[in-house]
Amino acid sequence: MASSSSYRHAATASASVPQARLSHLLLLFALCLLLVAIPAQAAQKSILLLSSGSAKVYQRVSSSIGASLQRLCSSADRPGCAEYRILESTLDGDDTETSTDATRWNLVVTIGVKAANHANKRFPAAARLYTLIPKSSTADLGLESAAGSASAIYLDQPITRQLNLIKLAMAGDIRIGALLGPTTDHLRSLVEMASSSLNLTTHIESVANDDEIGPALRRTLDESDILLALPDPLIYNQKTIFNILLSSYHNRIPVVGFSASYVRAGAMLAVYSNPDDIGMQIAEVVESYLAGAEKLPRPQFPKYFSIEINRSVSRSLGINLPDERQLTKSLKSLEGR
């Protein structure tokens, strides 16, 4: 915890005082030369932590990784921890040339889609762990062909977790409504199968363009008890969210969102992984890699998650929800944890 706040402090200070920044850079450059000059120990692993930008969310992920690694490594039975160094770097979209040797990294951990695409091109030789990345954006990263040397920790939640949450939150026979767009349409059979294995029924509408959202939403609200929002920008965006949240509420249909801001906006609840959750999981994968795992694990959904509830909405809809901690606990135990 202490370390994460000190990073933020350093970042803020350097951004606000350009002169100091320059001298820092010189110092860094010197250090860099020094490091390159000293031959690295044979067993030492170099890890590059590449963020897509300098936004707060990336900073939170990386400080969470730092804190979690520190915690993991402080226990005595983690020998791998001693043998690594990590460089953090940020990709902000400028075409600044890099002077760092692309081949010197054993493991590249990317945070965000942009960094993932960058690393995929630039560091093909290194093991790559793509994180903070929606599953829909991993199609071009060759995760299948590079299994073992490339993997991902998705940002989206597994369908079953969301369905379990609905089962825990709502009483009775629940019919789940969902609108699927181009990004999520392939999930249809998955949603149907997972639902039926949990004795839930579904009403799913596919939407190909934004004209179809209105009527599909009306039909879905007519036929469902709860609306499961799956991350699809065609359907859920700044333009449509007003109609979706308002119409659902007026039909007394609660919405399960996919982020905390959807809950603030008016969804009743959401299970999502925040940067800290993702950071913890990254640290675990990195730690096992350091501990000698030759290969990266298969791409995985977030292991840690948070639940957010809009109490004003649930109260207004007359739905009594258990508290977040209770729901998290029940959800974990349903997942066998």
């Binding site: 350093a10 490594c73 902000d92 960058h118 903070l132 940002l155 009775g172 801001s261 959807y262 739905i319």
Partner: protein, 684 residues
């Protein structure tokens, strides 16, 4: 330069190599983005992580959220879209028949009077009615001119009916109840819709609306034309044309603006042959309004709302009667209402909510016929606060009050105290005590209707003349309510027993001591605070939706009334009182059932029963009313549109008498069977 922010994660753990303990290993962060120049990021079509972390404007803000029924300080009936659709109703008053304790009469074919717990006349004045927070209560005659609304039921999102006095939050005139009509947000009904209805009784109506968006603005424009021949037994043809506009602008995540405009006009036939006070004639109505509302979110739990609106109403109503000289008179007038209100809402913590505000209102009325050419105005200033306080889990206090200062009247304070106690997840008890007032209407305060000699407008006789300084009518109400909420069964049951005491009744009297200008015919109609009535009763409402395709709604009321009000002061000073015992029907019952079959077929049916009751003044004693409606509907989905076809059978069980029942004078409203066909085409 900006992008190479460099931070390092400190190596940790025992026995670190390379760098001193706990010291960050710093490296230059020049790794960055050269390769970004390559175009692969444009090829990427998946979702960015930003999508998961982006801020979304708050849609369901404090003022948009309804208080859950378990916490409301009153029995609230909610008529939602599903119920509106299932009911097959073609007008708002027909929808309100489903509310327990409500009575609806048609004075002419389309001019409705809606009252709660009887005591109604053609201008049933006992309820406040709002559309999106704009009061449409007629400041001149009271009640609501339902036929003049610039609104089709298609655009109603829901109607919330608060049963019992609710002046603590809605001010005076929220006497026997409040009807809040909430229209759809334009964003919720994008596209074009056209609807037509044709039917027996000369029913013809056309309606169209378009809702769209541009930038942060969602808008709807709607137009309508309604025509009806009214009752077969009456000269009451009418038609109305209207247009309305609503725009909602999300200026930024914190600020929204709503603008509404509407205009309607149309001729209405009124009156009876051989009635000198109400001869057959054509009355022209013009109504328009402008409303502007600004909402500012101060935080997720805190909101400010500022609202300004103006209503204009014109009734052009005057007539000549041969008596045998040609005499002229009328009920026409112009009126305005301006209203400004600032409201602050705050969810202070999970157990404490506050809504408070200040407002000002200005009303004016003038008319040659009704006010002898004078202009009457009334200013009101108000201050209100309502607190919902969950003292302990499941025990909620609602404390509220409004103070209104009226020009030329004493100030009114309307308090309300309610305690909701949740026995368990399914059962809640409610105890409410409240007081409310009904201000005299401008007409009751200032009526000055004179019969003139048509040739030179010489005053001949006073027909209506207010001579007293009237005070507000007062109601005190106590109720014990029960709310059963069984979401697993899809069932909700509301029951309440209540006792209401109404005093200082503003009575319409005939005073023989009012002498006319020529003393031709002593006596005139007037108004006086004189009367008291006690109403006790029971109301039940059941909502049952076991599956989303099925809907059952039931309402029942049982009332017992005693009381009287002054009716006539004779020239010798003796007084006659009007017995109010029969002005409230003893029992009313309504049932609505609907089921949606596969293939887009839906059948629904509604039944209403009202015990005999007396409609006051112009109205008559009406025997039992039974009405049975049936609706058969078919939805056809097409690629770019949905088509709804509906057959509506109204009043299948045959003729009923409504409001007027004086066959001897040839004044009777007979509502007959009506078959109608309605088609709604909605383009995506």
């Amino acid at each position: 330069m900006r992008n190479d922010t460099e931070r390092a994660i400190p190596e940790s753990g025992p026995g670190k190599v390379g760098c001193p303990k706990n010291r960050a290993l710093l490296l230059s962060a020049m790794v960055v983005a050269s390769a970004l120049a390559a175009p692969f990021s444009q090829a990427q079509e998946g979702v960015s992580e930003d999508y998961f972390f982006a801020d979304v404007p708050i849609v369901l803000s404090v003022t948009r959220l309804q208080q859950p029924l378990t916490a409301t300080p009153a029995s609230v009936s909610v008529i939602d879209r599903k119920m509106i659709r299932a009911s097959g109703a073609t007008s708002i008053p027909d929808l309100l028949r489903h509310v327990p304790g409500f009575q609806v009469a048609y004075v002419t074919g389309k001019r409705a009077a809606v009252t709660a717990h009887g005591r109604g006349d053609e201008y049933a004045r006992d309820m406040q009615v709002t559309i999106d927070g704009r009061s449409i209560y007629d400041p001149v005659f009271g009640g609501v001119s339902w036929q003049d609304l610039q609104l089709d039921i298609d655009s109603i999102q829901r109607i919330e009916v608060v049963r019992g006095p609710n002046a603590a939050s809605h001010g005076s005139n929220s006497f026997a109840g409040v009807i809040n009509i909430i229209t759809e947000h334009p964003a919720a009904q994008p596209g074009l819709l056209a609807k037509t209805l044709v039917g027996e009784g000369g029913e013809r109506s056309l309606y169209g609306r378009y809702a769209g968006s541009a930038g942060g603005l969602d808008y709807r424009i709607a137009v309508g034309h309604n025509e009806s021949d009214g009752f077969d037994s009456r000269e009451d043809d009418e038609s109305t044309d209207w247009i309305s506009l609503r725009g909602d602008l999300q200026a930024d995540p914190r600020n929204t603006l709503m603008l509404q405009l509407g205009y309607s006009n149309g001729p209405r036939e009124e009156g009876f042959y051989d009635d000198v006070l109400q001869p057959v004639r054509n009355v022209d109505h013009i109504n328009h309004y402008q409303q502007l509302r600004w909402n500012r979110l101060l935080s997720t739990d805190e909101e400010l709302q500022l609202q300004l609106y103006h209503n204009f109403q014109r009734k052009d109503d005057h007539f000549q009667v041969e008596l045998p000289v040609l005499v002229e008179g009328g009920f026409g007038f112009d009126s305005h209402r301006y209203d400004l209100e600032l409201q602050y809402s705050n969810r202070i913590d999970s157990g404490l909510r506050l809504a408070a505000g200040v407002g000002a209102r200005y009303e004016s009325a003038e008319g040659f016929w009704t006010f002898a050419g004078e202009r009457h105005t009334r200013r009101q200033y108000r201050l209100f606060a309502n607190i919902e306080w969950e003292l302990e889990r499941g025990t909620i206090f609602n404390l509220g009050g409004m103070y209104e200062a009226y020009q030329g009247k004493r100030g009114l304070f309307s308090p309300r105290f309610a305690l909701n106690h949740r026995l368990n997840d399914n059962n809640t008890l409610r105890f409410v005590a409240s007081r409310a007032y009904r201000m005299p209407t401008l007409w009751e305060d200032h009526a000055n209707l004179i019969a003139y000699l048509a040739s030179n407008k010489m005053p001949l006789d006073y027909v209506f003349r207010s001579i007293e300084d009237l005070e507000a009518e007062e109601i005190t109400s106590f109720e014990i309510g029960y709310l059963g909420n069984f979401p697993q069964l899809g069932m909700q049951l509301d029951a309440r027993i209540f006792k209401e005491r109404i005093s200082e009744i503003i009575a319409n009297i005939t005073d023989d001591n009012i002498l006319g200008p020529l003393n031709l015919d002593p006596g005139a109609q007037s108004y006086a605070n004189n009367g008291k009535v006690y109403i006790t009763g029971l109301e039940l409402e059941l909502n049952y939706r076991p599956v989303s395709r099925a809907l059952i709604h039931m309402g029942y009321s049982l009332t017992n009334v005693y009381g009287e009000q002054l009716r006539h002061i004779y020239d010798d000073g003796t007084r006659r009182y009007l017995d109010l015992d029969s002005s409230v029907p003893q029992q009313t019952f309504s049932l609505l059932g609907s089921y949606r079959f596969g293939g887009g077929f839906e059948i629904s049916s509604a039944y209403h029963y009202v015990d005999p009751m007396e409609w006051l003044y112009d109205g008559d004693y009406i025997p039992v009313q039974k009405r049975w409606d049936l609706r058969i509907a078919k939805s056809i989905r097409q690629a770019n549109s949905d088509l709804d076809l509906e057959l509506l059978f109204q009043n299948i069980d045959g003729e009923d008498i409504d409001f007027y029942n004086s066959p001897d004078r040839n004044q009777i409203n007979l509502s007959d069977r009506r078959l109608m066909f309605r088609a709604t085409l909605r383009f995506h």
